[in-house]
């Protein structure tokens, strides 16, 4: 039965939405937004929206003395601050012709690989959370804290270590430190099978991650993808091996790769990298006691330090990919220009915008996190 006077009404289409992911969203390590247009639950358009963490570091660094900038650089990328310290120091060393003592180089590798482990643990936790697996997030964050304990003993700070300075590092290791690193590595090796049970070998996670946010190798190369995200597309490239710095050429490690280019492949690359970092650290623990000598080269008075005129483009492999600083000195007591080229500036913007299209709404967060982009570094 229907009423006689019924007339059909023209409704606006109800299957098109606009949604804001962020600026506070667990899908990303910091404040960041992705504005998406949806048709049903499929993304048709995505626009990255940054700037929530812009602190003007590049500008600030031009106003501060060369040495003072060591306090700024780690803050560019909160979860993986060490590569920032190292790349800045490498740049100033190249400009100033400073010779970094061998022991300092090994200490830097120790510091860098611990930071990579901490960053990957954080990312695993975050990535798990985007698929609803919060237990794993708690594990990742808790285990990362054990690494932060080591940072605290090493540098006096948990998150921002300011441990690397141009010319070397600021402190030698406290007594018994390498044994504690070794204990932590043992612990992580025991933990990894548990992570496998809960997360990496979890059928639910594998099912969710496989095929999500798939990049082809061609796309990855064309869009400027680097780091684990690039290696997950089958290209074996790592700055540590292919454009080596510090003492990485004296260390044995593999460059894990996958070919599928999706969220699962990226996660498995990071998991294997964690194992490689443990392998590197074991070598550092074995070698470091035999490498004596100073931990820093003699430096000029920081208040009267003119770094010679020139430019440098130092480059390191951070946990997130290719990290470079473009440093320009006019021979003065502070930089003329510091340009931060972070891996996340590619991954979080143009790559994410492109990858999100066609993704279902429930996978947007996972796509974001599987790229492991760091908004503070995009914004600088």
């Amino acid at each position: 039965m229907r009423p006689e006077n019924y007339k059909s009404v023209e409704h606006p289409p109800s299957h098109e939405y606009e949604l804001n992911f962020g600026p506070n969203h667990p899908g990303i390590e910091g404040n960041y937004a992705l504005k998406v247009k949806l048709e049903g639950d499929v993304v048709t358009e995505a626009k990255a929206d940054g700037g929530y963490l812009h602190r003007g570091f590049e500008k600030l660094m031009e106003t501060r003395l060369w040495m003072q900038n060591i306090a700024l650089v780690p803050r560019i990328c909160v979860p993986d601050p060490v590569p920032m310290e190292v790349v800045y120091s490498l740049g100033v060393e190249e400009l100033g012709g400073l010779e970094v003592p061998a022991r300092a180089q090994w200490l830097r590798v120790l510091h860098l690989e611990l930071s990579r482990i901490a960053a990957h643990l954080f990312t695993f936790g975050g990535h798990a959370a985007t698929t609803g697996m919060y237990s794993n997030m708690f594990w990742g964050v808790t285990d990362r804290d054990y690494v932060l304990d080591l940072f605290e003993q090493m540098s006096g700070g948990r998150v921002y270590h300011m441990y690397n300075v141009p010319g070397g590092v600021r402190r030698d290791l406290p007594d018994g430190f390498l044994a504690r690193v070794s204990e932590l590595l043992d612990y992580l090796e025991r933990r990894l099978p548990q992570y496998d049970d809960l997360f990496f070998a979890n059928a639910v996670f594998i099912d969710r991650a496989r095929g999500t946010g798939t990049l082809t190798q061609e796309q990855a190369l064309s869009w400027g993808v680097t780091g684990p995200n690039l290696r997950a597309c089958g290209l074996s490239f790592d700055v540590r091996r292919d454009d080596p710095y510090l003492v990485y050429d004296q260390l044995e490690f593999d460059i894990p790769t996958e070919t599928a280019g999706d969220a699962l492949a990226r996660t498995l690359v990071r998991r294997a990298e964690l194992i490689q970092s443990i392998r590197i650290l074991r070598q550092v623990i074995a070698r470091l006691p035999g490498i004596d000598g100073p931990i820093r080269c003699p430096l000029p008075n920081p208040l009267a330090w003119n770094v010679p005129m020139g430019e440098a483009y130092p480059r390191v492999e951070s946990s997130k990919g290719e990290l470079c600083f473009y440093l320009v000195s006019t021979g003065g007591d502070r930089p003329h220009r510091v340009h931060v080229r972070g891996p996340s500036s590619m991954h979080a913007v143009q790559v994410l915008e492109r990858l999100s299209i066609g993704t279902r709404i429930e996978d947007v967060a996972q796509t974001m996190f599987s790229l492991d982009a760091c908004p503070p570094e995009v914004d600088r």
Partner: protein, 610 residues
């Protein structure tokens, strides 16, 4: 550790293994603050006993979180380089980088292992603290991040200074110290943390931080500008200043102070004399002043006063009894320390400003004080200390017993005297070193061998002479015998044979007064055919004339002056060694002081008459 294959489908059951964790201890942290690591960078601690208030922490602070607070109760001592200031920290800005600790010259600052502070909006001022050794909340947390040798950012070592080897220098009066080359000067200047303790300690308040910074920036002409702001005897002070600045230098607390004196010398040596004269000539006031000033004595005090007054346009005339200017810096200081052509350069800059110097003109003999008073608006006495004091021991009236100051003057003037085969000098100050080293050079030149002994009343660590002077004298072969009191100059058949001394047990009494105690049983004779007394100098004030001497007020043989350098006569000022004791930089400061006082006095007279 096994790999996980991408192709693996995973397991639905394996995640349930994590249920085993339900039976385990959870990861918990106690509510109270967890103890921080031994290196922790927490809130600041500051050892107020060690802190000198130099403000270096403030300069290196990335975030301008540190401000210096002046605290009236605290002791301050510019001579030692201590200010009554302490750093305060704004924890709204601090990022705990610890650079303040690494660059602290004294090591007073450290970071503690304390890291918890919260407050309400009303208590926001608690974010601004004045760190002390007790910690932010007075709970005595231990030190965390503190100064280590590895992390110290202060360069404690001086740039080495090249000087002639002892065997290269004892046969001539060639300058001993080479001076910095540009590279070493730049490196030495770069050590400076710009705290300004040197400026505060310098009697003339020289802007040493500014000229050191200019040298570091390789802008030597700017350095000259800064030097001439406060010191027209730049070559002299670059070589023979007693460098109070270096004693006060903050870097000197844990290391070697900056070579401030040699840096000044470097700037002066590098910039050509003509260029210095151009730079200084631009400072002269555009219009001449009608005021006329007479100065007695062309030593550092008189020349400095003349420079200041000439720059202001006054007509300045200096009356100098000796044939050349410089006073004690020429007739007291040997040429191996101060080449006289450098002194000539300094004087040339001053005369180029219009200052007239009448040499070989003794006031009291060639022109009277009354005349000077009549012809000038003001007169400055800067006659110096040119009479040597005598021990008055038996035999000290022998012709072969000299006063050091007379002998040094003779050497500069080129007057003849018999160079002794063996000389003994009485005294442990810089003048004793000067005459000993000069005689040694003359012996080497004349006899091809040297034999100079210096006997001092004081023990080695009480000697008045500068450490580098003592070291260089001994390198050259001067024998220094400490703790010997002179008893008599022994004479045999009218020929001087030596100096007899007794052991001096102590020089000062419990109250610190000069009251030597001797062990009369411990007698030693030092054979010599010349004995030189270098135990102090006195002014020769006879030129003033009886009438004026009567009218003037005196303090223990010196003209009495007020803090502006005025004597009791309204037209007469006094400055320099004669009123303040021997020291070149004090004399320069005195010169500035009287010049300033005269300008103000004349200006106020004109104001009153207008």
């Amino acid at each position: 550790m096994t790999d996980i294959k991408y192709e693996s489908k995973g397991s639905l059951l394996r995640p349930f293994k994590a249920l085993a964790f339900l039976g385990r201890e959870p990861v918990t942290e106690p509510m109270g603050p967890r103890p921080a690591s031994e290196n922790y960078r927490g809130f600041h601690l500051n050892d107020w006993e060690k802190c000198i208030g130099c403000g270096t922490c403030k300069k290196i602070c990335d975030n301008q979180a540190i401000r210096m607070v002046s605290i009236p109760d605290l002791p301050a001592d510019p001579v030692k380089g201590i200010r009554a200031e302490r750093p305060a920290m704004d924890y709204g800005r601090c990022c705990w980088c610890g650079l303040c600790v690494d660059l602290c010259p004294t090591g007073s600052l450290s970071l503690s292992r304390e890291y918890v502070h919260t407050c309400t909006e009303e208590q926001i001022s608690s974010y601004f603290i004045l760190p002390d050794p007790k910690g932010m909340h007075g709970q005595g947390y231990e030190k965390g991040w503190a100064k280590t040798a590895d992390a110290d950012l202060i360069d404690l070592e001086r740039q080495p200074m090249h000087q002639l080897a002892p065997d290269e220098r004892t046969d001539s009066f060639a300058e001993v110290v080479d001076g910095f080359d540009p590279q070493s000067a730049l490196l030495e200047a770069s050590r400076c943390i710009q705290c300004g303790m040197c400026h505060d300690a310098c009697p003339s308040n020289m802007d040493a931080p500014q000229y050191i910074r200019a040298i570091w920036s390789d802008d030597l002409e700017a350095a000259i500008e800064h030097i001439y702001d406060t010191n027209p005897l730049a070559h002299v002070c670059g070589r023979v200043c007693t460098h109070r600045c270096e004693s006060a230098c903050s870097i000197g607390i844990r290391g070697k102070p900056l070579s401030i004196r040699w840096l000044k010398r470097y700037a002066m040596d590098q910039v050509g004399h003509d260029r210095v004269r151009d730079i200084v000539s631009k400072r002269k006031a555009p219009l001449p002043d009608s005021g006329k000033i007479a100065i007695i004595g062309a030593g550092p005090a008189g020349l400095t006063a003349a420079y200041d007054l000439a720059l202001q346009g006054f007509q300045v005339t200096i009356y100098e009894g000796l044939p050349q200017g410089g006073g004690m810096t020429r007739y007291g200081i040997p040429e191996y320390r101060l080449p006289y052509n450098r002194l000539d350069d300094d004087i040339d800059i001053i005369t180029s400003l219009g200052v007239v110097i009448h040499y070989d003109t003794w006031v009291g003999r060639d022109i009277s004080m009354t005349q000077l008073e009549q012809d000038n608006d003001a007169v400055i006495v800067a006659n110096g200390l040119h009479l040597g004091r005598s021990t008055r021991i038996p035999g000290s009236d022998h012709a072969q017993v000299y006063s050091a100051i007379d002998l040094l003057r003779k050497i500069t003037l080129g007057e003849h005297f018999d160079i002794p085969q063996r000389a003994v000098v009485i005294g442990g100050g810089n003048v004793a070193m000067d005459i000993a080293r000069s005689l040694l050079r003359l012996q080497q030149r004349t006899h091809g061998r040297t034999d100079v002994t210096v006997t001092t009343l004081e023990a080695r660590d009480q000697m008045m002479a500068a450490a580098d002077e003592i070291e260089e004298a001994e390198e050259e072969g001067v024998v220094i015998i400490n703790s010997r009191g002179p008893r008599q100059c022994t004479v045999d058949k009218e020929v001087l044979t030596g100096l007899e001394t007794v052991h001096c047990i102590s020089v000062f009494d419990a109250e610190g007064r000069f009251h030597p105690q001797y062990d009369e049983d411990d007698l030693t004779l030092y054979g010599a055919d010349m004995v030189v007394e270098a135990i102090g100098q006195a002014p020769d004030n006879d030129f003033l004339g009886e009438l004026l001497t009567e009218r003037l007020e005196w303090v223990r043989g010196r003209l009495k002056i007020d803090e502006e350098g005025r004597t009791s006569e309204p037209w007469l000022w006094a400055a320099g060694d004669a009123v303040e004791g021997p020291d070149v930089i004090h004399a320069i400061a005195g010169g500035h002081r009287v010049a300033n006082s005269i300008q103000q006095h004349l200006a106020s007279l004109r104001k009153a008459s207008a």
